[in-house]
């Protein structure tokens, strides 16, 4: 009894200290995240305009009806989900492959690890501009090289062709963010105990089965976290699409849509409704993802 009481006392004290240390950051978080978020939700139920944000009336769910009746909104939702699924899948597969390669013992891997980070370290807008130039239909290096090689004879309008622009944006995103995946997965790989691979190799377990039965399940938590980060990032993608193809409806993401309504049309009500919808969409996707992953882990016994 007595020790139990002491332990509870200790834990409570620890918890109090923890809250004390957390308080400042919670305050800041509230000021810069929760407050604006709350305001956004509030405005989504009003008819406010950006020109005079102080004068508004509550109009219930009307903004949401407007939003959900707009075909362009649904297209941007589709674009965003398509971009997210395709780019994150490619980045995960590629990131895993490169991480495995880098984890193998080969000379110069320290150098490779540093080099591979370069695309990630460049600001996205800069990368996007750079790619825009490289992809330019007349002066771009890509078309130039393809022409030299005789693959094409006219420059391809990479970012103007509606069939090409989404694949191009996905390709550039893969170029930019695969290093991030590599790094997170590599960190996970290096935490795996070496000795289990020795045991497996003595027990006659093939390299492929070592990969599927040992590496993948043990790496799953690392991959899951990396994918979650990328998922959240991709769902609110803005800059790449905005720079490479700002006006195309084929690559309009929900973030671009929200900005358009808010800034171009000055409609704070519908803009806020769009922002709130984006927030909910990301929350739902995250919740589904985390739940599915938890269930999976339970099933696999990982």
């Amino acid at each position: 009894m007595a020790t139990g009481a002491i332990r509870i006392g200790l834990n409570a004290k620890r918890a109090r200290t923890a809250w004390l240390f957390l308080a400042p950051s919670l305050l800041v978080l509230f000021a810069v995240a929760l407050w604006p978020l709350g305001r956004t939700f509030l405005f989504s139920f009003t008819d406010a305009f950006l020109t005079e944000p102080d004068i508004y009336a509550y109009i219930g769910l009307e903004n949401y009806f407007t939003l959900f009746e707009d075909a362009l909104w649904w297209q941007s939702v589709r674009n965003t989900l398509y971009f997210t699924v395709v780019s994150v899948s490619i980045e995960t597969a590629l990131g895993l492959a490169i991480a495995l390669l880098l984890n193998a013992h080969m000379s110069g891997r320290g150098f490779m690890r540093a080099v591979i980070l370069i695309p990630w370290s460049i600001p996205v807008v800069v990368s996007a501009r750079m790619w825009q130039w490289m992809l330019h239909d007349q002066f771009g290096i890509l078309n130039h090289v393809l022409k030299l090689m005789g693959v094409i004879d006219h420059g391809i309008a990479w970012t103007a062709n509606p069939d090409l622009v989404m694949p191009v944006i996905i390709a550039v995103d893969v170029w930019i963010t695969t290093p991030f995946m590599v790094l997170l997965i590599l960190a996970g790989l290096q935490m795996l105990p070496k000795s289990i691979y020795e045991a497996a190799s003595i027990d006659g377990v093939s390299e492929w089965r070592q990969f599927t039965a040992l590496t993948l399940p043990l790496l799953a938590p690392s991959i899951a976290v990396a994918v979650l980060f990328r998922l959240l990032d991709a769902l609110r993608m803005f800059d790449l699409s905005f720079v490479l193809s700002s006006n195309s409806d084929d690559t309009k993401t929900v973030s671009i849509y929200a900005r358009e309504v808010l800034v171009n049309f000055q409609d704070m009500g519908v803009g806020s409704a769009a922002s709130a919808a984006i927030f909910l969409m990301i929350a739902v996707v995250t919740a589904i993802y985390v739940t599915v992953f938890r269930l999976n882990r339970k099933l696999l016994g990982v």
Binding site: D203, G204, V205, L214
Partner: protein
């Protein structure tokens, strides 16, 4: 068929030579134990046999064929790792069965072998747990079980019992001996524990700094250590050493110690020596040769006692006595030994034998 031959085997890590020319022939079905101080290369040598460390020089043969380039999986061995190396995401049952699963054995057979091994190792109530939910000793038993179920011709153990308590350790030692009697698999076993080495081994290999200091049956090593290192390493408490000088006098040799001169049969060697006598060979109050000694401390161990004695020059030796001798610290006594139980080592620490012996 599955003997192991090590022929002048060398292991270098960069400039560091860790195994420095080891020659050893292990017969089929033999139980060989590697002992030696920490860092002497026991694990490295074992890992070279397993194929986990490349062999820098020399040759390894298993069942007569060269194995230097053969991958571990093709050497038909089962190994228990010093660090257990259990699969952290699998429960005990899958850990035990994983290799069999990989070898595509029928499920019924896998279950039978796993159940048998688990019962035998007293881990059958833990089959659903994952390694992180086991104690060190339980993990170690799972590791042994994982090697057992594979039923290979060659067993490698790297300190498999080091984390068990005394009772369990003795029990497992007996079990390992029993398994070996039944399965007759060639076994190489690394340990720090003298008792394990003495009781399990057909032959013991004493390693020092990557070389073999001596190979022999447990009794050979105990009775006739080839050098001072082996003499000190085998036996517990360790052998007492006293410095002395050996000179020839006609048909005899004379050993001069700090406490007196002793006539011995003729040795070819003359010069500085150390005299080695095991604690259990020292006799309080008698013997062929005797020394005056002051009692420092008496440690009763139950059936016997360790008596720490000062024999002058601040040198202390330990004698093992039956029961509880009636002497008190501070008292003076006489301690002696029989010449047949004494060991002499020359200044290069090699064992000396009388001429003709």
């Amino acid at each position: 068929m599955s003997g192991i031959d090590l022929i002048n085997v060398v292991k270098r890590f960069g400039a560091l030579t860790v195994i420095d020319g080891v020659d050893l022939a292990i017969a089929e079905g033999e139980f060989v134990v590697f002992v030696g101080p920490s860092g002497c290369g026991k694990s490295t040598l074992l890992r070279m046999i397993a194929g986990l460390e490349e062999i820098s020089d020399g040759e390894l043969r298993i069942a007569g064929s060269r194995m230097n380039e053969t991958p571990p999986a093709k050497r038909n061995i089962a190994m228990v790792f010093q660090s257990y190396a259990l699969y952290p995401h699998m429960n005990v049952e899958r850990n035990l069965g994983f290799a069999l699963e990989t070898a595509r054995l029928p499920a019924a057979e896998i279950r039978e072998r796993v159940t048998k091994a688990a019962k035998f190792l007293k881990i059958d109530h833990l089959l659903d747990r994952r390694p992180a939910q086991l104690s060190g000793g339980q993990q170690q038993r799972v590791a042994i079980g994982r090697a057992l179920v594979r039923q290979q011709k060659l067993f490698l153990f790297d300190e498999p019992l080091s984390n068990l308590d005394a009772d369990l350790r003795m029990e497992m030692r007996v079990e390992i001996a029993r398994i070996h009697r039944e399965v007759k698999a060639t076994t190489v076993y690394v340990t720090h524990d003298q008792m394990e080495a003495m009781t399990l081994a057909d032959r013991i290999v004493v390693l020092k700094d990557g070389r073999i200091a001596q190979v022999g049956t447990p009794m050979e090593l105990y009775e006739r250590p080839a050098n001072r290192f082996v003499a000190g390493f085998i036996g517990s408490p360790r052998m007492n050493f006293l410095p002395g000088m050996l000179v020839r006098e006609g048909e005899e040799s004379v050993l001069s110690l700090a406490g007196g001169r002793h006539r011995l049969s003729a040795h070819d060697y003359a010069g500085d020596v150390s005299l080695g006598i095991r604690p259990e060979d020292l006799i309080l109050g008698g013997g062929d040769a005797t020394l005056e000694a002051e009692v420092l401390l008496v440690e009763p161990l139950g059936g016997e006692s360790l008596v720490h004695l000062n024999v002058g020059d601040g040198r202390s030796i330990v004698a093992k006595a039956q029961g509880r001798p009636e002497i008190r610290p501070g008292a003076t006594t006489v301690v002696g030994w029989n010449h047949t139980r004494a060991h002499l080592f020359d200044k290069d620490e090699r064992a000396l034998n009388p001429r003709g012996a």
